[in-house]
């Protein structure tokens, strides 16, 4: 094979190979949960060992909050008391607020049941319960990508909101006051029977440590 014929030969070989290799079928790594559709049915144990499931929560508004105590974005909302205030406000209105930890064992944010109960008290969480999703199944079911990642589910099991907690993805706590809190607006609208203004947004935060 002469030098001049090498490259045409090579490109002839590469061509079809290229065609094959570039036709990669899209990988469905965690499909997004679809808003205005039935929320995925989950079952998970909380730190106290009590089981919570979507079916069992029928008739109640549910908020799911993905949590990782070491993530700077979670700390941004907890450090200022923003998340706790939100939890208190809506739990008092009858919402079932479930904080979820999907960190795998050995990864950042993972907590044993005992550690979790202590931590909840320490940060002053007003959530209804803290679900421990060690195997990440619930996170993958909802397509939770970040901490925090928020979901609002109506009493009849429909997903009403999925995405970021608010409109400013900075890690600076000073930005919370001027940002729009999507969870609050979604709950206020949906609970009053009105359409939700922002049904979904791009969630921000640290990646969930599956």
């Amino acid at each position: 094979m002469t030098k001049t014929s090498f490259f045409p030969m090579l490109s002839l070989l590469l061509g079809p190979l290229l065609g094959l290799s570039l036709s990669v079928v899209s990988m469905n790594a965690g499909a997004d949960a679809k808003v205005d559709a039935a929320a995925p049915a989950f079952t998970e144990k909380d730190a106290a060992g009590v089981e919570h499931s979507l079916g069992g929560l029928k008739g109640k508004w549910v908020v799911l909050e993905w949590y990782n105590k070491d993530c700077p974005y979670v700390k941004k909302h907890y450090g200022q008391g923003n998340m706790q205030a939100l939890q208190k406000k809506y739990v008092e209105k009858g919402v079932s607020w479930l904080t979820v930890i999907s960190s795998a064992k050995g990864k950042q944010g993972h907590q044993t049941p005992a550690e979790a109960i202590t931590d909840m008290k320490l940060v002053g969480s007003k959530a209804t319960a803290l679900l421990l999703d060690e195997d990440g199944s619930m996170g993958k079911l909802f397509g939770a990508k970040t901490t925090p990642h928020m979901f609002v589910i109506s009493p009849d099991g429909q997903l009403k909101y999925a995405g970021a907690i608010d409109s400013n993805d900075s890690s600076d706590p000073a930005t919370i006051a001027s940002a729009t809190n999507y969870v609050a607006t979604a709950l206020d609208a949906a609970m009053a029977g009105k359409p939700v203004p922002t049904k979904s947004s791009k969630a921000y935060g640290c990646s969930v440590k599956y």
Partner: protein, 675 residues
Amino acid sequence: MLPTIFLVALIGCIFPNFAFGKILSDHVEVSLLGHSVQEIKSKELRLGLHYKLEDEWHIYWKNPGDSGAAPKFQVRGAKLLDVSWPPPKRIPLGDLTNFGYEKEVLLFLDLELPDSASHLISVDIDLEWLVCKVECIPGFGKITLSYDQMQRRLVPWMSGDSEIFAQFQSQLPVSSRGFVISSGAKEGTSFVFRINSEDGKDFSGIKELSIFPEDGTSFLTSFPKVEVERSQIEFSMPVSANVSELQAPPKFVLVQKDIEGRQDAFSLEVPLGGPTKILSIGIILLAFLGGLILNAMPCVFPVLSLKIFSFLKEESTLKIRKSSLLYTAGVLCSFLFLGALLIVLRSAGLSLGWGFQLQESWFVYSMILLFFLMGLSFLDFFGTDELSFLNRFNLNSELYKSDFMTGVLAVIVASPCTAPFMGSAMGLTLMLPAYQALLIFFFLGLGLAAPILMLAFYPRLRTLLPKPGSWMIWVKKLMGVPLLLTCIWLLWVLQLQKGNLAALVTSSILVLIFLFGLLKSKIILKKKIFSSSLLLVGLFGLIFVHSLESVQQAAENDSRWSQFDEKLIEEKRKTVGVFIDFTAAWCITCQFNKKNVLQDREVVQMLDQSGLFLVRADWTNHEPRITAFLAGLGRNSIPVYAVLQGESQTDLLPELLTKDIMKKKLEPFISQKGF
């Protein structure tokens, strides 16, 4: 000297996050180097912020991906115009993917300096970023710089690597070059669009291709489906389930690496409203109508009338039907052949559009001879049995053997006359897969053959036709006139394409043919010698004309209209708006619109008042840049009248213009100008 250094070092130690344009933080170092400032134009500066990262740590692109956050900038003392990002890398993290940078990157900030009395301008930049390995650490910092406008440099001067600015700047994505982006549409869970090569760029030489969406809310980070062919690449970008319709044309960064390892990055903006993979009934109807209307065009009408005459003479319905079917077969085969040719040539990389035959002078020349011979023959110039090759085209109203060829002839002569409706149907052939494009050509042919088919199969229609008689001879002679007129017009086109010499030579050949015809009855010449000598002369003319150099289109007398210049168009559309008239000498509809509407006094006044930048894109000869621009508008045939506004707003006017259409379109522009 020593105390100063000591002082500076002391300050550097006390304020680790703030040291004259350099920030030292956890796992990342951000600095503004002396050579990282470039004055783009007066009052505009480009800064290169250098982020140097520890091994295995990364920061994020403008769309960070599934998690993370893009670096942020808050500028005080100047106006932040734009941030330019070098192309990112995919950084997988388990099942999730981020887009970002490792090791180091330069992010470019374009600033507009304020008017200031002093030549020294002070600018503060508040920075925020997120640096991650697995866990993430947010970082904050401030960079202060002083820029001396007179000396054109930073004060105090900080030395640094001068190469790095140029290196990263050369990596910045450029707007797409060498290919045309089709419009995209949502198909199922993906957003699909294609890029087609122009000027024969071959995509199979690409080794690695990555594409990054700027919109992280609508697009998922999972790998898109990419199908590469020689002159086309199709992308299927996975879309978030919570996005029903895209609100704005999405932007992507395309990074390609070729076999030699060279990397190029392009920024793509995909217009919305893409091609439907399903050929709708509406498009088929459009093609059919286009073909039908072609029958009324002066090029086709004579051939059609001749065919009708042959029906009038014939008594047997069976013969009529057979003849019409053969004619239809001729039409369909020719159209499909032309369509297939167009598709094959395009996929081989040639940038062609419908009407491409007419951009070739040898075709125009052949058509001149053909129309001349046909015109003369209609006028019974050559008698009834000379020139047997003409018989094959059924010019003597004999049914059967020549029906198929009559159909072929009809298609050949139809080319100079692009009818309305055809333009949009033809444009779609650009986007659709081959077999669907051929379907369009099929229905076009069906439309052209429809009148004949109708007459053949609906005897009642035939009763509407007048009875045969000697009037037919006169009408046939009359039909010769539009044919000869078309011939003259084509001569004018040839003159525009190849210059006066070509037109002169061709006219001389026509005169020769005419003389031959006159003299043949006087001189006894053998049929064979007659036809073969004509052929020789014709061939000589063909070779001669083709060998001549193409003539550059002379500037139009009308100074209102400017020549086609893409850069100028892109600039002007953002300020005053642009009106583009895509035309060619061989396009009858274009010339009609020009004479009738565009040169009408009232319309000219309106165009002046609107303040629009007027462009005349002349497609008489092969012009790949105009072809590519047309493709970008979703068209590949003319006439096309486009009004471009702002960044991306494009409106296309119908192929047949009227004063009212122009009035409606220009009104908003005129009222804006306050007339």
